[in-house]
Structures are given as C-alpha cells and as structure tokens.
Symmetry: none
Subunit: 404 residues, 2 copies
DNA sequence: TCCAGAGATGAATCCACCC
DNA sequence: GGGGTGGATTCATCTCTGG
C-alpha cells in the first residue's frame, strides 16, 4: 500500500505489467480553467491547472497515460474513467482505441443534487464514468439494490411462466392460487447512481478540491474487485479511492503529482473517515412527509412545499415581498392544536401573516376562524373538499328536518 | 404542419434556411455487435463491413444530415440529438464540429427503470440527449421543480451578505431581524430527467396526466421554444415529437423514410385523441384544455376532469352514487355567466346538485352564493387562492381606513 | 472580440444545538 | 437524552466586467 508523488506517466512504467486488478482514474476534466480553492480556515490554498492548448493536446496527454494503465492491468482487470461533460467524448475515443470498443461495459452516470447557481441552461447534475474491461473475461460482481418504492413487490415475488403464445404471465397452481417465486436479492444495480454530492459540512471533507464521496468509490470497487485485490488510482488527489479500498480490504496504490495531495491521502488512509449519508440510508421518502391531499392543496395555491417542519407546510408565492407560511390541519389535529404548532414554528420569524387550512370539522365554532395572537394574524380557510362536503352534510340535515 | 416521406438528406435541402426554431433528432442507432445500422422501428437496415468502417460510415451518414439541420435552424434556434450509448461520442464530435463546442448547452440524461435481466454488467437505464444552441443567444426557458426534501426552506428565504473576510452570511437588519430574500420559484430543472417508459398506473386512471415519453418531448419543446414556434423532426417515426408539439401549440414539420411511419404520424397528429395507441394521452389532453389553475383545483378535489364541455369542467368523485358536476369560473366570466353555462350544460341531465368554484371577485354580491334554480342546487365556493387573496385585500383596506 | 479574474449566486446537506 | 430545526458552508459554479 503505497502512495507515490509524481506524474503518473513517469511512475506507471515502474509498475509491473498485468499486476493490478482495477484502475480508477479521475484526471483533469478539460475545464480550460485554473482552479483555486481555500480551506475553511483560509490556511491553505490549493491550486491546479486544467487549461490546455487544444483538445488534441489533451488527447495526447491522456492517451499516453491510459496506455500505461492498459499495460499494468491484469487480463481480468477493469478500468473506470471519470469524466465530465467537457471531454467525455475524447476520452471515450481513447478508451475505444486502447481497450477496444468490445470491452466497453457501461457508461455510469453519477447523478447528484447540488446547490445551484443562476444558469441559463439546465443545471449540471451528473458526471460520467466509463467502465471498460481489459478482456471479456474481466471480473464483475453484481450488486443488488432495494426495490424502488413504486415497484409492486407482491408481483415480483410471484413465479412467472409463459402462456401458449409465449407471453409471460404469473403462474398459478391447479387451484388458481399464486405460486411464489424463490427469494429474490433485489434489483441488480443499474448504470445511473444517485449518490449525494459531498456535503459542505461533511466530516469526510479534507479541504482538497474535487473530493469525491467514498460511497461512489466503494461501489466501483465492489462491482469490479474482490477482497485482497489491488486497486490503482493514478490521479489519486486526496485519496478517496485509497480510503474506500482500505475500508473494503483491498490493497491500493496511489499516484499524484501534488505533494500536498500525497500528504493528505497518506494521512487519510491511516485514519479513514466516511460520512454516513442519512439521505441514502433512509431514502428520500423518509423526508417526504406530505399526504397526497396536502400536496394537492399546496399545488392549488402554487405554494412552495416545506418538508422538514412540524408547523409549516409551505410558503405562499403570491404575495410579493412577503413570506407567508401555510399550515394544513392534519387529520388528527384539532384546529387549536394546528394553530399552536403554526405559532410555535413561526415564533422566531416574525411573520406578519399566516394561513391555516382547515380540513375537517372540529368542535370549535366558527368564531375561531379569525384568530389574533400578538402581532401575527392567522387566517383560517376551509379546504375546497371541506367546503363541499360541509355543504352536503348541511343538505342532508335539511332533508332530515323536512321529513320530521 | 406537414409530414414528408423520404430520406431527410433529400428533403431538408428543400426547407428554407434559418426557418426552424428547434430540431429534435432521434436518428438510427448504431450497434457494432451486429454491424448494423437500424432505424428505431427497424424499418431500415444499412449494412457495413466491420465496426471501424461502420463508425466512419456512420459519421459520414450523420454529418451530412446534421449539416442540413444547422442550415435550416434559426439563429436563436436549438437542436437536440438523441443518442444511444454506442455512438454518442461520434455524434458529439459531429455536433462540436458543426455547431461549435461553445454552443454546447447540456448533456441530458434520460433515466428510466426497466425490468431486470441478469448479465455481466450494470443494467443500462439511461439514454443521452445532446443539447446545442445555434448561437449563444439561443432561446431557453427555465422550468422549475420542487426543492429537495432536505432543503431548509426557512433559511433560503433569507437574504445573504458577506462578512469582512468575504465569507457569506445571512443578512439581518440593525435590529437583528431577518431580511427576506426575493421570491423563489423553485429549483431550476437539472440535466438528469427521470421519466418512465410508461406509467403502469396510468392504465387504471384514464383521465389523469401520465408520465411517459411524450413528457420527454414536451420538456424538450418547453425549454427550447415558445408557442407558435416551428419544431422539426427529421427522423420522426410514429410522430411523438409532432404530437407533443401540437399539444403545446407549436407548429411542426416531420420527415421519415418509412411511408408506414408517415401514415401513422399523420393520423396521430390529425386526431391525437382517437388514436388507440395513445389512449393515455387522452387524460393528458384533457388537462391541456384546462389552464394549470383549473387542473390544480380539480386535482385538489380529486375530481374527474371533463373536456370539451363549455359548462362542466369535471365531476366530483367523493359523493358516492351521485354525479356532481363542477364548473370553475373562467377569468373572463362573471359569476352569473359561469352559472348560466353550468345550467345550460346540465339542462338535460337533471343533476340534483352542482358545484361552482369562484376564482375571482365579480360585481355580484355574496347573496348570490347560494343560488336555487328549478330543481337543481348550485353551491358556489371560493377557490383557495381567491379566499386568501380576498383576505389580503381586506387587510389592506383595513389599513387604509386606519390611516384616515 | 476575446480572455481572465472578480463578484454574485443559491440550494443542499449534515451538524450542532436547543428544547 | 433524543427528536427536531436553525445554521454554516460550499463552488471541476456561472455571469459579468474591464482591459
């Protein structure tokens, strides 16, 4: 487990041919910019050049290094090349040439959500990783993911068969009962990976630019290597690949031209930190707390939904210059309780006005509808559904009275 | 609105230069395994000797056609090229050459989930669409999506400033109170679009908007064109692009080499609703005859929308066994007019109850809210938006009175 | 007209603190 | 304490200005 400082073009030739099981490269992206980034305490300034005379120069630079990668890779080894939109097509051509288009496995899309800026095009929310094997016999471990929430798990667990026309259908026994399939492991991993971008506040951050999440590298290592295999990263930067390799009990070799990077990578591998992503662990759905009815009410008001707040369900967009919180009364809440929660959530904010949507009848009478409390004004309004159903109840009562 | 039969290489030269606002191409794809070049509907089949040869041939084939596309595109026009994973890098090189790498806008990832099958690689679950403008001044309409569930909305509604070190902070006024940011519309749309091939639930709920690849084309058309613009699809196949263009009130031109395809596309665009293969578009289309506000009101009531009826916008589903028509007052209608249209539409049906949603204030006073006419009872209820905005108007009037 | 560098931007996360 | 919510921080940004 060694980390070398230097240009990988110089270092790779010292590595024995066909000695490495997997290579992950995260080369310069051809952004045509020089990048500067300061650490949080302004103590360090990391600087790297990524501007090139032309695409041809970039291609020559990359080709010589990828050729060396091909040489050191075992016959059943794999290579992953991390690109962004600027140069992916040039890099893919190089890979096709050196590894052969037949050994192309996947175009992996790393999809993330990130803080945005006001761009006059679509927000960039992905990067591309090309996955090639050295030969057709290259290693591959299938990983399984959980079934997505929308999948009907009952159906998957049924055994399938084919009818007389060759169409697939679900199997039933002679009595017409469903035949259950043997246990499934989940859905095989796809080529679009939704992994959160390394969080601004994550402990995992070391302050070095372009740091990748450990989770991303873990996945790459898991699908392409086994325990004890050797992982090589010729542009290792702050050493995320090496950390992931160590956490998964693989051996690793790193190379970087910056001595700062090598220092950081060395100390990181000695004391690996991985941030657990709550978002990934629990899934997006645990944050999505709105019922369909609530979502529809917010949509009909063109309000911005708020997910992680017990008292506020959304903000009105219609009243310019004023932020107006909305709360929708929950099924189990009395109007009084709903109001209290809204007041509590708004306590420190000093909102001049608030809106509370009443969704069901409670014992409180209509006098409560306009409530004044301190400086804040809460407007209580019935949801459309409540208005309409109240009307019907009223009609039925009328009818009863008439019968009497 | 014309659809031509023939090779677009022959047809495009007949189209005037700089006359088209947007071009979407879904060209034949290129597989090196079979050394075949096929159109997506398998109508055409071109053979090549070997993969290297075919890549070159493919490039020549596509380049001549994309050059013509460039010619017919307006200066503020856009082009979208739908690629499959085997040829995307060649196509990107062609686009860089003809449109210029500076006019590259986005690499759009269309991400979908598919039924799994075991093989020795990751499941392929995406396709790539390249988005170029003809010039830097090309049109672009920003679409907005919801905030991430984990976003702290309270915070981003605050204005920000910088401290003496240039680090950014949230602004407070001299009294330590929060300064609110300008109004938010949501998060700008990103470049990874999760759109299912077909939404299975749509089968169950006809009359409801469905997500399917028409949505893909609609998004492309919406971000790159305005109403009345001309959309061109040189490989139009069964005409999904053209149908989407028509539904969004854009003009369209289609070309396809297969006469079968042209026939299907023609009949689909002439009568998009009758075509059985797009049964699901019926529901979608139903909403398209409604304004977004009307759609949202119907959705929030979980009502079934009705199209092509001047008097009835939908039916309530909540009151069992009774058909209860709903009308939503239109912008230009007085409450009286709206009521008359509803009565007129309901004349022969003998509905016992009807609901009329009031969306704006008219001269009529509140006494009109309960109107009885013949045997039918119309219940007039204010939309949530109207209720809330009336409340604000009331407050402002109060303030004025207080000042006097 | 183009390039470089400064300055504005803005939402997404985990963290830390607060009840 | 532990569940919830305000806060800090970012940027293989993006735009605009000035030479």
């Amino acid at each position: 487990m060694s980390i070398f400082c230097g240009d990988c073009k110089e270092i790779l030739p010292n590595i024995e041919a066909e000695s490495v099981d997997m290579i992950y490269l995260d080369p310069p992206f051809f952004t045509q910019k020089t990048h500067n980034l300061k650490t949080r305490d302004n103590a360090q300034n990391y600087h790297f050049e990524d501007s090139w005379e032309s695409a041809e120069h970039y291609t020559i630079y990359m080709k010589s290094r990828i050729k060396e990668c091909h040489r050191v890779l075992k016959k059943d080894g794999n290579i992953f090349l991390h690109c962004d939109k600027n140069a992916s097509h040039y890099l893919r051509l190089i890979l096709d040439e050196i590894f052969g288009s037949k050994n192309f496995r996947n175009e992996i899309i790393w999809h993330y959500k990130r803080w945005s800026s006001n761009k006059s095009a679509l927000q960039s929310q992905h990067q591309v990783i090309y996955f090639y094997g050295k030969t057709k016999a290259s290693k591959f471990n299938t990983l399984y993911t959980d079934y997505s929430a929308t999948t009907n798990i009952d159906q998957i667990l049924q055994e399938r068969t084919r009818d007389e026309h060759g169409k697939s259908k679900y199997k039933t026994d002679s009595g017409g009962n469903i035949v259950w399939a043997k246990e499934k492991k989940g859905v095989p991993l796809g080529d679009v990976w939704e992994i959160p971008y390394l969080n601004p506040k994550a402990h995992e951050r070391v302050g070095y630019p372009t740091q990748k999440p450990v989770l991303l590298l873990e996945r790459i290592i898991e699908i392409s290597t086994n325990v004890g295999d050797i992982v090589l990263d010729p542009f290792c930067g702050s050493g995320t690949t090496l950390v992931a390799a160590k956490l998964l009990n693989r051996r690793f070799v790193g190379i970087d031209i910056s001595s700062d990077a090598v220092n950081i990578a060395t100390s990181r591998t000695e004391n690996p930190i991985k941030t657990t992503s709550i978002l990934l662990e629990k899934g997006k759905n645990c944050y999505l707390t709105k019922t369909p009815t609530e979502s529809k009410i917010l949509a009909s008001l063109e309000a911005i939904p708020v997910q992680r707040n017990a008292g506020i369900d959304g903000f009105l967009t219609m009243q310019q210059g004023r932020q107006i919180p909305i709360k929708i009364q929950k099924q189990e809440e009395s109007l009084q309780e709903a109001k209290q929660k809204l007041m509590q959530a708004a306590k420190k904010r000093n909102y001049p006005y608030m809106v509370l949507i009443r969704t069901h009848n409670s014992l409180q009478n209509q006098l409560e509808w306009f409530s004044f409390s301190g400086n804040a004004t809460i407007f209580v309004v019935d949801s459309l559904e409540l208005s309409v159903s109240n009307w019907f109840v009223g009609l039925e009562n009328l009818a009863k009275v008439a019968q009497m």
